[in-house]
């Protein structure tokens, strides 16, 4: 008996050795091939994925393959290739640290990017994302984090404050869109909801809706592109406080941001550069909030101004809805995330959002969240009013009224 067992075991061992040798030789071959031609794109993964996840009758997945690709990864194949090119250097697997498929082959950069994008886009669990690609949960976790780290560094140029010429374009489009001259952007904030283990629960992270959350503040342009973000601060903080802790606030206060050319309004008033924000923000010389209704009714000019202001501000709301809809990991309740890593995840989602816009991809209409991005949160009005901000707001309202009056005469 014993010798028989021994021989069986030795056979098994030799088989294992063979397998290992095959795997390592395959890995070595793949590694040897990868640096030789870094632009080689591996499309096998997509064929396998599409076959496995092809649309069934009644499913939301589009029949068309290109649209199906967009459905799963939010980006077109061209944009996908661009993202791969951004992170390729960081994601190329090199044995022995290379991530290996179930078949024993190294994961291609394309497949790694696809796994990470799918995880961020769907917000599904690592296990289900892994099952869709034929990899394990731990691989999904590692690949996603590697991708986030890589894009966080390589994709920085997609999220930056515009230079003067670009800002002029943005201002012109804002004025054309909502009649607000010299407006540079719209600000808003959202909660990224999560659960925390009991030992980490703290009032700091508990927001007014009794969720544990992390805040994301963003300033967007007229094309819903994020120009500036701050994240990582706890949900217990209110929006105006978050603004005050942001670098953007400090830069504006010391005149290093929103310090471009002023614009002369109709009655020879000057309007400096500013952004628009909701009633939860303070009225500042560079941040214009809507007029508050005191119950007695607003004058026509003020109502008009508020409507125009709202149309500009709603761009930020729309941008957040699109962000959270495209990258559903942000809209689902995250289960016990690492609070040190969560800001990176949020940032990368914002970068991807901007990359889509910069590439000219058109998102499906059903991608954005149907409701408000921060559903369940009540906006708390901020009473802080700066006289300079108040004066600018009045001038803008007057300017709007004059323009309204002049239009019919023309």
């Amino acid at each position: 008996m014993a010798p028989g067992k021994k021989s069986r075991r030795s056979k098994k061992e030799s088989k294992k050795l063979k397998k290992r040798r095959n795997a390592s030789s395959a890995a070595a071959a793949a590694a040897a091939a990868a640096p030789a031609d870094p632009n080689t794109s591996d499309t096998d993964w997509w064929d396998v994925f599409w076959r496995k996840n092809s649309p069934s009758p009644g499913s939301a997945v589009p029949e068309d393959e290109a649209e199906g690709f967009k459905h799963y990864f939010r980006v077109s194949k061209e944009t996908f290739a661009y993202i791969c090119s951004l992170v390729r250097e960081d994601l190329i697997s090199r044995p022995p640290s290379g991530l290996i498929n179930i078949e024993g082959r190294l994961l291609s950069v394309e497949k790694q990017v696809a796994i990470a994008l799918r995880r961020l886009a769907s917000g599904e669990s690592q296990v289900s994302v892994g099952a869709a690609f034929g990899v394990g949960q731990s691989t999904v976790s590692q690949v996603t984090w590697r991708f986030i780290e890589a894009l966080e560094e390589r994709g920085r140029h997609h999220l930056k404050w515009p230079d003067v010429s670009r800002m002029d374009e943005i201002k012109a489009r804002f004025e054309a869109f909502c009649g607000l001259p010299n407006c540079c952007g719209a600000i808003d904030a959202t909660h990224i909801i999560m659960t925390l283990p009991a030992v980490q629960t703290s009032d700091d992270w508990c927001d007014p809706a009794n969720n544990y959350s992390m805040l994301l503040q963003g300033i967007v342009d007229d094309e819903l592109r994020f120009l500036d973000i701050v994240t990582g601060l706890p949900g217990g903080m209110i929006g105006s406080k978050l603004l005050k802790f942001s670098g953007f606030f400090k830069l504006c206060e010391c005149g290093k941001r929103l310090n471009g050319n002023t614009k002369t309004l109709i009655e020879k008033c000057e309007a400096r550069e500013y952004i628009v924000g909701g009633a939860s923000y303070p009225l500042l010389p560079w941040l214009i909030t809507p007029y508050e209704s005191d119950g007695s009714g607003l004058t026509d000019s003020i109502s008009d101004f508020n409507a125009m202001h709202e149309s500009a501000r709603s761009l930020a709301v729309k941008a957040f809805s699109q962000l959270k809809g495209s990258w559903r990991i942000l809209s689902k309740v995250m289960w016990r995330p690492d609070k040190q890593k969560l800001p990176s995840i949020i940032l990368v989602c914002c970068l991807l959002h901007n990359i889509i816009l910069d590439s000219g991809d058109k998102l499906h209409s059903d991608v954005a969240l149907p409701g408000h991005h921060d559903f369940g949160y009540v906006e708390q009005g901020c009473k802080q009013v700066d006289p300079l901000g108040s004066a600018l707001r009045e001038n803008l309202a007057k300017n709007l009224q004059c323009r309204r009056e002049s239009v019919p005469s023309k």
Binding site: D90, S97, R119, Q126, Q137, S138, V140, S141, Q142, T144, W145, R146, I148, E149, E152, E153, R156, L159, K160, W161, P197, A198, V199, Q200, S202, D203, D204, W205, D228, I229, V230, T231, G232, L233, P234, G236, M237, I238, K241, F245, S246, G247, F248, K250, L251, R257, M334, W335, R336, P337, D338, K339, Q340, K341, P343, S344, I345, I346, L347
Partner: protein, 305 residues
């Protein structure tokens, strides 16, 4: 050996000597029938003292258990001899289970090797001691105790003094930790008004700043929030890249973070160690994770990204 062999028996064989030490008659009438039939058992000698070596001790226990069978039979025959056998039994049991009261004739029983009042044994070098490090040191001390045998076992007076000294050191470490934190607050400015504030460490990403990512400490009391920098905790993605590519100057930062992760006084630091990340920095996280696990404060969740 088991015990000293009487001089008058030095000529007998080993079996006789064994029998005599265990209280059995030596000689030719060694059959069980004879033993059972003969009510006059010689008074058993005092049970042997526990042996210094484990193997010998085991041997003696086995031999005594062997004796037990005979004793049971003898008791059936002669209830008068019960008391004698009771002595043997008690000796065996007390040796096996370390009962407080040994057998009648037990002499100088060796003490248990277990520490009666286990105490923390934190390493004195943990001046910035955290809960996590204390636990790890405690675990290490426990291991050392287990491996170190007698020296780490009973609390002799000197050991008591030592451990008291260690306890004092640990208390000192705590005090040091508090002082360190106070110093940190002093460094960051007005620490006087931070008494009674809750403290949480956060990683903030702000694209308006040159380095997008940095560590901050938040202090909060009701609606009052204060943000302080965490000194030397700037995390830039470029820095992480360097680290990933093989160390360099950023290792210091990583080390600092590692230390903070384990040594930070907040328990929530320990609760975040389940994510999978490449690199050495995770080693400490895993340690903290394991510690957390061992302290059973909560169920450990799988990694989330």
């Amino acid at each position: 050996m088991l015990c000293s062999v009487p001089a008058d028996r030095s000529g007998s064989n080993w079996l006789d000597r064994l029998r005599s030490t265990r209280g059995f008659p030596a000689g030719d009438d060694l059959g069980l029938d004879h033993f059972l039939a003969n009510p006059q058992n010689p008074s058993p000698p005092t049970p042997p003292a526990p042996d210094p070596s484990t193997s010998e001790s085991t041997h003696s226990v086995q031999s005594q258990i062997g004796t037990q069978d005979h004793a049971h039979s003898a008791r059936a025959q002669n209830p008068g001899g019960e008391r004698d056998w009771y002595g043997i039994m008690t000796g065996v049991l007390s040796e096996l289970f370390n009962m407080g009261d040994g057998g009648e004739g037990e002499v100088a029983r060796k003490s248990s090797r277990k520490q009666p009042n286990p105490r923390f044994f934190p390493n004195s070098r943990t001046s910035d001691a955290s809960a996590g490090e204390k636990i790890s040191d405690c675990a290490a001390a426990a291991e050392a105790g287990a491996a170190g045998g007698e020296n780490a076992g009973w609390r002799t007076p000197s050991a008591d003094l030592e451990s008291d000294a260690v306890d004092r050191t640990a208390r000192g470490a705590d005090v040091d930790g508090e002082e360190e934190e106070e110093e940190e607050e002093k460094e960051s400015g007005d620490n006087q008004d931070l008494v009674g504030y809750s403290r949480s460490e956060v990683t903030v990403i702000d694209t308006s700043c040159e380095s997008w990512k940095f560590e901050k400490v938040l202090y909060r009391r009701k609606n009052v929030w204060k943000v302080r920098d965490r000194k030397g905790k700037v995390r830039s993605s470029i820095g992480r890249k360097k680290r990933k590519l093989g160390g360099g100057s950023e290792d210091g930062i990583v080390g600092g973070k590692k230390k903070l992760k384990v040594s930070g006084s907040e328990v929530d630091e320990l609760g975040e160690e389940q994510n999978i990340e490449n690199g050495k920095a995770e080693t400490s996280k895993e340690l903290a994770h394991n510690l957390d696990k061992s302290s059973k404060t909560r169920q450990v969740p799988p990694s989330i990204l």
